[in-house]
């Protein structure tokens, strides 16, 4: 049996992953884990792009994924550096404790 997979299934998977990422953002306490949920969201969107690129045989979708990856990598680097700085200032990674809006 060689049934092909409808594109909409890929898209649904992408939506599901995205929602899971948002949920993770909302319920997690550790700052790094929250950041990882953001990465999950980005990946979900990447999947959606690649699916559309395959649907219409457009290479531009894949190029966009390329750029997303680049930006996500840069963002991860800077974000983790910030988390390290926050940890140095507050000695905790619990996001509920980092709510004083002054240094």
């Amino acid at each position: 049996m060689n049934l092909d997979v409808p594109i909409s299934w890929y898209l649904l998977l992408s939506a599901l992953l995205f929602s899971l990422g948002v949920v993770g953002f909302l319920i997690k306490r550790n700052l790094i884990t929250i950041f990882m949920s953001i990465e999950l969201m980005l990946n979900a969107v990447n999947l959606s792009f690649v699916a559309f690129a395959s649907q219409w045989h457009e290479v531009k979708g894949q190029i966009f994924v390329f750029f997303v990856m680049v930006v996500a990598a840069a963002e991860a680097a800077v974000g983790l550096a910030i988390i390290i700085a926050v940890f140095r200032a507050r000695a905790t990674l619990a996001v509920d404790r980092i709510d004083r809006m002054k240094l």
Binding site: L26, F49, V95, M101
Partner: protein, 660 residues
């Protein structure tokens, strides 16, 4: 020659500016020179213009001078700076600038040593500027500028010694009461503008003359309304009932000011204005009757009050009000030239009376109460003789000036019909009272025993005496021009109203009656006041309520205070002060601040620093946005198969709303 007209108001204006700005640093001599030069220059210019018209050149009047740029050119409204010199304004100007100049000279002596010397003369010149503007005005708006300006000058001069509370209050009172009259004047101007579309005197007169006498719009209601409004304005300025209350209080100012402004010139502006706009009044007989009634009532009212006053200047103030009533009476019976004639003679003798009174006060070192005067006739002879001439003039003895003018008025009233006879009778009684209180003043002030012997009166300096002598001469000879020639002179301006004298016998009878009452008044005054008898006191004791009523000026000030002033103050304080200012306006401001504060307090809770709540709100906003985009474009626009044909950069945008 037309350009000379501008000099008449502008010279005093220059004097005002110079003395007002630089006066404090200049020596008194320089200040005096500037002020006298300004007023003399104005007078000389008037004489030059008058000279140009003597003889056969009268036909070239009126002179007009219009500024090249219009003042207001706004749609249908067009007003110029226009000055007009015709017979009426020429007469008035001669009085204003001539008597004004004399009073300037007098002031040099009277105000000598006063700390506000320069200020005084600058105000006096300011007054001359505005008064000449008023007289020369070619349209009613320029006249209104002069009108308001003389009110301002009056306020400044009444309250000249402003450190005295009574003087400051008197200035305020004068200005406010004038304002009430000016309000009426303004309404009149608006009505004129609405109905005639123009404000120039000659234009309105021409339009009125062109429209037929039975024009449904311009007879009756509208014209009467306009004239009543103008009458209110004139009553305010000329101190008629019920707006006369400021004039007695205005005696707080220096005596030359009282002479110039509140006797000779400013208060006659109302009469002048009515004469100027006579063409309106002629077509509104109801208004004209109102003028006459107001005038007659004021005349007798003020005369009765003058009987019981003890301040020499107050007596003269009420006398002024009474004489102005005569002028209004004359206008009311359409004898405009008689009114102007009386205006001229009144300027002479009333200015003389005030200046002489000022001389008396000056010589007594500031004493104004007549009960403390007496026996002065030997000590200040020049003052005495000039004042005597003035007293006889105002009483109406021939051949002095007022005899002719008063007679003209009474005669014109008498021949005016049954109502006119009543007015004549009122005028006659007033003449009796006038004679009575003036002679009372004369006796109490100059004759009899000196009631305050510790004061040594000295004669005034020649700067004060010279104008007295000039004015006395004018009072003697001022009426000799005769009413017929005067009427003929003014007819081109005020129109021909006088019927030819019906019978010279009637004139003689009426004149005789007037002289008789004058003598009667002298006799009564002689009986009561000549020897220091106790008859006045006995009479006062016999009629206590009457005396109290008169001595307290019929309590009019108190009535106004209770009926008008106090309610206004209460409204201001309680309603406007508490309700409007504090509650409404303050409340509105407080409300706005409160709303901003409250919103801030609510929104403050959003900025918690809590990352998770931020994230939750972000997700909610994203969901809302998605829903909105979805619902706004669902479902007919959603056709994804189109996308692969779209150009380059739109690959990732779902075009909601694009139709296949």
């Amino acid at each position: 020659m037309n350009g000379l007209l501008w000099l008449i108001p502008l010279l005093p204006l220059a004097g005002f500016l110079l003395n007002g700005i630089l006066g404090r640093r200049l020596s008194n001599l320089l200040v005096t020179t500037i002020a006298l030069a300004a007023s003399l220059g104005s007078f000389v210019t008037v004489l030059l213009c008058a000279n140009g018209f003597s003889g056969g050149k009268l036909a070239t009047l009126p002179l007009t001078a219009v500024a090249p740029q219009p003042w207001i050119a706004l749609g249908a409204l067009h007003v110029d700076f226009a000055l007009v010199l015709d017979q009426l304004s020429l007469t008035m100007l001669l009085v204003v600038t001539g008597v004004g100049f004399l009073i300037h000279i007098y002031s040099v002596g009277y105000m000598h040593g006063d700390s506000g010397y320069a200020r005084y003369f600058s105000y006096l010149n300011l007054f001359l500027f505005f008064m000449t503007t008023l007289v020369l005005a070619g349209n009613i708006l320029v006249m209104f500028v002069g009108w308001e300006g003389v009110g301002l000058a009056s306020y400044l001069l009444i309250g000249f010694w402003f450190q005295r509370k009574s003087a400051a209050d008197a200035g305020k009172k004068a200005f406010l009461v004038n304002r009430v009259g000016d309000f009426g004047f303004l309404i009149g101007i608006f009505l004129l503008l609405a109905n005639f579309g123009t404000l120039g005197f000659s234009e309105i007169s021409a339009k009125l003359a062109a429209s037929p006498a039975q024009s449904p719009i311009l007879t009756g209601g509208v014209l009467t309304a306009i004239c009543i409004c103008l009458l209110i304005g004139a009553a305010g300025k000329s101190a008629q009932l019920p707006l006369y209350i400021w004039l007695p209080d205005a005696m707080e100012g220096p005596t030359p000011v009282s002479a110039l402004i509140h006797a000779a010139t400013m208060v006659t502006a109302g009469v002048y204005m009515i004469a100027r706009t006579h063409f309106l009044f002629d077509r509104a007989p109801v208004a004209l009757a109102a003028v006459a009634i107001v005038g007659a009532a004021t005349a007798i009212f003020a005369a009765t009050i003058g009987l019981a006053q003890n301040d020499i200047k107050r007596v003269l103030a009420y006398s002024t009000i009474s004489q102005l009533g005569y002028m209004f009476l004359a206008c009311g019976v359409a004898a405009y030239s008689a009114a102007i004639f009386h205006l001229v003679t009144h300027a002479f003798f009333k200015a003389l009376l005030f200046l002489a009174a000022g001389s008396v006060i000056h010589s007594l070192g500031g004493e104004q109460d007549m009960r403390k005067m007496g026996g002065l006739w030997k000590k200040i002879p020049v003052t005495f003789w000039t004042m005597t001439i003035a007293v006889f003039t105002i009483a109406g003895f021939p051949p002095l000036a007022a005899f002719f003018s008063k007679d003209a008025i009474l005669y014109a009233a008498f021949v005016q019909g049954p109502g006119g006879k009543l007015l004549w009778f009122v005028g006659l009684v007033t003449a009796l009272l006038t004679s009575l209180y003036m002679f009372r003043l004369w006796y109490m002030t100059f004759l009899g025993k000196a009631r305050s012997p510790e004061v040594h009166p000295h004669e005034s300096p020649w700067t004060m005496l010279a104008p007295l002598i000039v004015l006395a001469l004018l009072s003697i000879g001022g009426g000799w021009i005769g009413i017929e020639r005067f009427t003929a002179f003014l007819t081109p301006v005020v129109g021909a109203h006088q019927q030819a004298s019906a019978s010279p016998h009637l004139e003689l009878i009426l004149s005789g009656a007037a002289v008789a009452v004058a003598l009667l008044g002298w006799l009564i005054a002689h009986l009561f006041y000549c020897e220091s008898s106790s008859r006045p006191a006995q009479l006062a004791a016999a009629l206590p309520t009457g005396y109290k009523l008169l001595a307290n000026k019929y309590f009019v000030d108190e009535i106004y205070g209770a009926a008008i002033v106090r309610p206004l103050l209460a409204i201001s304080k309680y309603f406007l002060g508490w309700v409007v200012d504090f509650a409404i306006l303050g409340g509105a401001a407080w409300l706005l601040a409160g709303i901003a504060n409250f919103a801030g307090m609510i929104l403050q809770r959003w900025q918690s620093g809590n990352l998770r709540s931020y994230a939750a709100w972000l997700a909610a906003a994203a969901a809302a946005l998605l829903l909105f985009v979805l619902l706004a474009g669902w479902p007919q626009s959603l056709n994804l198969s189109l996308l692969h044909a779209e150009p380059f950069y739109n690959i990732t945008v779902l075009h909601f709303g694009a139709r296949p």
